[in-house]
Amino acid sequence: MRKFTGMALAVIATIALTPAARAQEAPQGDAANGKRIFLKEACFTCHGRVGEGGAYNGPAPILAHTALPFEAFKGQIRNPINDMPAYSGAVLSDKDIADIYAFVHTLPGPSSPKSFPILNN
């Protein structure tokens, strides 16, 4: 319980960083390889092929253009909260995670629904 709460607070705290701070922290990644891994290693099964989010036992967060800093992103993969499977280094290396992180930042995030008339009727 204490561990869970601490992890959650760490995630929340790091989300609060500015985009510039997040960019500085993120390692260089290969987005093309990240896409390959994202689809091959089944990230898409819960989070969607374009990172639109989905559901597993509960909601699976949107990853397109995630606001999560790299360390929190990696932490969630290595030692996830809730029911997300943990991906060890044997399955995903730190380099793989950096590539995935780079890939999800190439995905278009949400837009204004005003540009989509059928969402407003």
Binding site: R49, A55, I62, D83, P85, V91, G109, P110, L119, N120
Partner: protein, 652 residues
């Protein structure tokens, strides 16, 4: 299937033969004239007179001088006729069947004696389809229909659907043919398809069952079965129908009475308990209502709206029925965080209360902790716990509660609302209004957030489920629509659509038994047909493949429905579970499509639909092709037929 017959060696036998002789049978010799031995009350097989008497011909002379027939071949009444007379008094619209010899007596009587109306036969190609169709119908129409199946094997096919109906607390009247008397069974299949107690395989998930031994017994058990099925908590019932009882002539119709049906008035919760619940809710700082299978009539939603508004209390809807309008400001169904903030929670007609009130972790070591805050008071109102069974665990894990009120939720809400109004002072009323404003703002923020989220991957292929739902809504929004099915975890309709009429939603499968969605949606569409409503349903590809034959029923009976296949080419929930298993072991995450996906070859659902006589569109992979495909399909539905649109989608 051979006609059941007596053993030629059983000369002394039998009850049936002696019974037949005196009960309205017409022998072969009477084909051209009335045999003098025909019992009183029997209908003649040929005209008795042609006016002025003509001289008898040789055949008539022979008929009048021959001994009474020993092996009659005609009869003028049957037990099945009486069964139909009883069924008609219960206003049962349809009898969904997969035809079988063990209930041929009833089947023939429904068609010829009953005129194939109330009930009208709905032909199904599998018993699972027939029961699910009845389940979907009952939830939409508010009253049950019946289904009939073969003894033993047909009933075995029907079981999973009956389990879904049981878990969903839906009334379905199930008949199973049986031949009780061993000496009346033909060699072969009739022995394979008979049982001493065929109802035993469904007894753990039916409210009641019986095997009537006489016609009067049937009459009483039929009315009793209907009454039990439709009394909350509702559920399926089963009657085993003896073949002899269905087929034999009626000995004395005048002695048979049809019992009177009078529905049970659902109980309102204890008045003192209702007042206590109201007191707790009025005093609460953060009350919360959570509901699942509350609305059993259109009054259910109206009553809940009035109650929630009296308290300005948030409502979390588990969507088991059309309980609460999706765009009502107090609808907070996508803000489960409120469970952890509530100081008093009222749970109404919940099937599984422990689940929503618990954080459960599906990890190597499974753990759970309350989602509620310490000291939160929990009140339950409902009928589920007054009828439970032991074997199947659909009752869920034990949940501690503080006030447990046995009473029908829908019927009890007006008293609860009145008590809340009576106990609320002006200062509290002002606080409620303030709370309501905050909740309305949060609701609107949720709606706007959903719209924003729906834009992600708008033009992607495979198509996002948000885009799919938005496109469908855009095409049907001006119809009097009713959405009656959804794939697992597909919630975009409830996030994006304005679902507010009592018939615009009817819940899920109940037992999470795959194969429900297509036939149950067609059942709901059958109920909607007489009202001219436009029925639309979403369903997964995995579910579709369990019962694709249901589309033939929709085509055959011209049941209009727009069915959207949410085609992610997988049993996707299992795909994710398997991935989690592999990740847990640190091996082979990239091969979890083995045994979990539906590809190589991809299934062409539009072609399957066309093969069943329905309209088929797809596979649609480009989101820009959706609108034209939907327009074509909708034109077919509005003309009275079923249409399938196969949409290749992202997983969720």
């Amino acid at each position: 299937m051979p006609k059941r017959r007596q053993d030629a060696n059983q000369g002394a036998d039998s009850s049936r033969r002696s019974f037949l002789k005196g009960a309205g049978l017409v022998g072969a010799a009477a084909a051209t004239a009335v045999a003098p031995s025909v019992a009183a009350g029997a209908m003649p097989a040929a005209p008795l007179s042609k006016g002025k008497a003509a001289l008898p011909g040789p055949r008539q002379i022979a008929a009048e001088t021959m001994p009474p027939p020993s092996d009659p071949v005609n009869q003028t009444s049957s037990g099945g006729d009486y069964m139909v007379d009883v069924i008609k008094t219960l206003d049962i619209d349809y009898l969904a069947i997969n035809c079988a010899s063990s209930y041929r007596g009833l089947h023939e009587a429904v068609v010829n004696h009953g005129g194939n109306t109330k009930p009208e036969i709905i032909t199904c190609v599998h018993e699972d389809i027939a029961v699910h169709l009845a389940q979907g119908y009952a939830k939409m129409d508010g009253k049950p229909i019946a289904m009939a199946c073969h003894g033993v094997v047909g009933l075995q096919h029907a079981t999973m659907a009956m389990y879904n109906a049981w878990c969903d607390r839906v009334p379905v009247i199930v008949f199973g043919g049986n031949i009780m008397e061993a000496d009346k069974r033909a060699p072969g299949a009739e022995w394979l398809h008979a049982g001493v107690d065929i109802g035993q395989i469904v007894r753990e998930f039916t409210k009641w069952d019986d095997q009537p031994a006489s016609l009067q017994h049937f009459g009483e058990s039929m009315v009793r079965a209907y009454k039990i099925a439709t009394t909350p908590p509702m559920g399926p019932v089963f009657l085993s129908l003896d073949g002899e009882l269905q087929e034999n002539p009626i000995r004395d119709r005048g002695s048979l009475r049809i019992p009177k049906y009078e529905p049970v008035i659902p109980p309102v919760g204890d008045s003192a308990a209702i007042v206590e619940a109201a007191r707790m809710l009025v005093a609460a700082k953060n009350p919360l209502i959570i509901v699942d299978r509350l609305a059993r009539t259109p009054a259910g939603m109206k009553n809940l709206v009035e109650f929630a508004e009296a308290l300005q209390c948030p409502v979390i809807d588990n969507y088991g029925r059309m309980n609460f309008p999706s765009r009502h400001p107090l609808n907070q169904s996508f803000r489960r965080v409120l469970i952890g903030r509530a100081d008093v929670i009222l749970a109404i007609e919940m099937n599984d209360l422990w689940g929503p009130l618990t954080h459960f972790r599906d990890r190597i070591e499974r753990t759970s902790r309350p989602a509620t805050k310490a000291g939160a008071k929990i009140i339950t109102l409902g009928m589920r716990d007054v009828y439970l069974k032991a074997n199947y665990q659909d009752f869920g894990r034990w949940q501690d509660v503080d006030l447990d009120i046995a009473g029908d939720g829908e019927s009890s809400l007006p008293a609860l609302t009145e008590a809340v109004r009576r106990l609320t002072d002006p200062a509290q009323k002002a606080a409620f209004d303030e709370r309501g404003k905050k909740l309305a703002a949060a609701h609107q923020a949720m709606v706007e957030r959903s719209k924003v989220d729906a834009t992600i991957g708008w033009d992607a292929s495979p198509i996002t489920t948000a885009r799919m739902c938005a496109e469908v809504h855009n095409q049907i929004k001006d119809e009097d629509w009713s959405v009656v099915g959804t794939a697992i975890r597909l919630s975009w309709m409830h996030r994006l659509w304005d679902i507010k009429k009592p018939y615009q939603w009817n819940g899920g499968s109940g037992g999470a038994g795959v194969g429900y969605n297509l036939p149950a949606s067609i059942g709901a569409a059958l109920a909607n047909k007489k009202h001219g409503r436009f029925t639309v349903a979403f369903g997964g590809d995995g579910d579709f493949m369990f019962n694709p034959g249901a589309l033939w029923t929709a085509a055959h009976h011209q049941i209009p429905i727009l069915y959207i296949v949410h085609n992610n080419r997988a049993y996707h929930q299992e795909y994710m579970y398997l991935t989690a298993m592999a990740a847990r072991h640190g091996r082979g995450v990239d091969r979890m499509d083995i045994g979990t996906t539906l590809k190589d070859p991809n299934i062409d659902y539009a072609t399957v639909a066309r093969g069943m006589g329905a309209h088929g569109e797809g596979p649609i992979t480009d989101p820009n092709d959706l609108a034209p495909a939907l327009k074509r399909a909708i034109a077919v539905v509005k003309a009275g037929g079923p249409a399938v649109v196969d949409v290749v989608t992202d997983p969720r």
